[in-house]
Amino acid sequence: MTQYILRRFLWAIPVLLGASFLVFWSIRWVPGDPAIAIAGELATPELVEKVRAELGLDQPLPIQYGIYLGRMLRGDMGTSVRSGLPVFEEIRIRLPRTLQLTFFSLLFAAAIGIPIGVLSATRANTWIDALSMIFALLGVSMPIFWLGLMLIVFFALTLPSWLGLNQPILPPTGAGTWQHLVMPTIALAANSMAIQARMTRASMLEVLRSDYIRTARAKGVPEFSVVYNHGLRNALIPIVTVIGLQFGTLLGGAVLTETVFAWPGIGRLLVDSIGYRDYPVIQGTVLVITVGFVLVNILVDVLYAYLDPRIRYT
């Protein structure tokens, strides 16, 4: 197992180096001088020259990348053009909010998606199954930012008017209380919930057809125990993997959800920075989310190998 974990981490090194090179290189796609792009369009010529010297922009590309990598490893991601604060600090303040939203969305998606998948599989080819899968398909097809807007319409306009209230049931924007968390969590979770429901159904159907389930039923084990203790327990292995991979995807989706609900996380920081052409912040947030995404994927692989020993030996 230790060897497997080591192998997975070693594999991640070139991928992370490649991804960081792409982020580093992206500043060269910006039309014009990269030093101006990093220092900001309003920067003085002295500042632009200082940035040029600091980043070694007059040096060959591999050396520039080396300087960039060294700075990133020290946590020096440059200075925000907009706020003048270190990019690392800007991200550090907002990251917990994004992680909070992602974590609750994942929890919510699993809490609803897995039971729907189980119900669908145990009632396969009935109207319950059809309804659940239509629900799942809608969840996959619905743009999460639109669902967010619809939730705002419902909780801030429709429902209060039905109840004869003059104020929104839930706050449509901001963060701080549990009420603020409800709408962004549902919006971000919808897609993941649908994927988990479909995955659970497929996995459960396969497990429920196995011989040991037939044996359990023949022995007279109660149906509830057959489904949950024997069935779901074994069907969970691929589901756990999907849940883990969803965490990374949700980190990406948070960019949209945070924009809809003005949630003060790094996704919104990224979108705001694009408007201000604040390239050090854009590069920093993309790099942090990507590193998180890669690390979570490794953890999922390791967890999968732990749960299913066959993986380790292939």
């Binding site: 070139p14 991928v15 992370l16 490649g18 991804a19 792409l22 982020v23 992206s26 500043i27 796609w29 910006v30 039309p31 398909l137 809608l138 996959v140 097809s141 619905m142 743009p143 930012f145 639109w146 669902l147 807007l149 619809m150 705002i152 319409v153 801030a156 306009l157 990374g248 995807t249 980190l251 990406g252 989706g253 960019v255 949209l256 924009t259 809809v260 990224l270 979108v271 694009i274 408007g275 390239y279 854009i282 993309v286 989310i289 990507t290 995404f293 890669v294």
Partner: protein
């Protein structure tokens, strides 16, 4: 390949022997026609394509014509879906938006297929170092959450519909490369490829005449599903202000503009989102149906 599989069936079965050999395409269409989901999907997709093509004929008003007396009007007999923040007819803008989404979907998927599929084909067929290098590059692209890579590219190149299409296309390259590599690897081991190689057929001939035709089915399925992803991604970039210019009736753009009036005129955000959802649902249903219909294991 198609005719031979039909004739083998004809020789084996009793009652089947009377039937004429069926082509792969007609069998796929038959299987598709038995799936209610696929029919619904195909209908939605066909409607979307027709609307995209005939938008100028179908639109009741000029999609750019502003009427400041009639701003943010709810749906009525005059304006079936209401008007937007500048008094423009929402239905006309939605119909034109379908055309844009269709173009975005096709072009970005085209970019993904045209670059990704050959890379996968070469990678799978050549193996060794070439395979290693191509696949590690694909791993790097896959290291990013897809929407994030698209955002990074559009932020650097500058927001525009063309850049959004390119970004969405580039993000999908590894998907096709991996798919094509997998198919090529399995086909490469087939006896007829070995036979072809042993009689000295050049590699490019084997690739284009034998390997490529047999990898088309998964690419078609993936492309159908990927159009849905592309339309959603383009709307997402539009919503973030990273797609088409603000006055263009792109669905994501319309949602971004309408957001400001969400509590006073919710219809401005309801309909564009509904349109995105129906089109994406259509492509998803059709893609799922095609996958089942093309999978030989589903055949009788």
């Amino acid at each position: 390949m198609t005719a031979s599989s039909g004739s083998i069936t004809a020789r084996q079965g009793g009652d089947v022997a009377l039937r004429a050999p069926r082509s792969n395409l007609s069998m796929t269409l038959r299987r598709l026609s038995r799936s209610p989901g696929a029919i619904l999907g195909a209908t939605l997709v066909a409607m979307f394509i027709l609307i995209g093509i005939f938008a100028p004929v179908l639109a009741p008003y000029d999609f750019e014509a502003a009427d400041f007396v009639k701003v943010r009007q709810p749906p009525s007999a005059e304006h079936w879906l209401g008007t937007d923040e500048l008094g423009r007819d929402l239905l006309s803008r939605l119909l034109y938006g379908a055309r844009l989404s269709l173009v975005v979907g096709l072009i970005s998927v085209g970019i993904g297929v045209l670059i990704g599929a050959p890379l996968g084909l070469i990678s799978g067929y050549a193996g060794g170092r070439v395979d290693q290098v191509i696949m590690r590059l694909m791993d790097i692209l896959l290291a990013f959450p897809s929407i994030l890579l698209a955002i990074l590219m559009v932020a650097a190149f500058g927001p525009s519909l063309t850049n959004a299409m390119i970004a969405i296309g580039v993000v999908s390259i590894p998907v096709y490369a991996r798919l094509m590599r997998g198919s090529t690897l399995s086909i490469k081991e087939e006896l007829y490829i070995e036979a072809s190689r042993s009689v000295g057929t050049p590699s490019h001939h084997i690739l284009t005449r034998h390997v490529l035709p047999n990898t088309i089915a998964p690419i078609v399925v993936q492309s159908t599903l990927q159009i849905a992803v592309a339309i959603q991604a383009s709307a997402a970039l539009g919503f973030l202000g990273l797609g088409a210019p603000p006055d263009v009736p792109e669905w994501g753009n319309m949602l971004q503009k309408g957001r400001t009036y969400i509590l006073s005129a919710p219809h401005i955000v309801v309909f564009p989102g509904l349109a995105i959802m129906l089109v994406v649902l259509g492509f998803n249903l059709m893609g799922d149906g095609l996958r089942d219909a093309l999978d030989p294991r589903m055949a009788r």
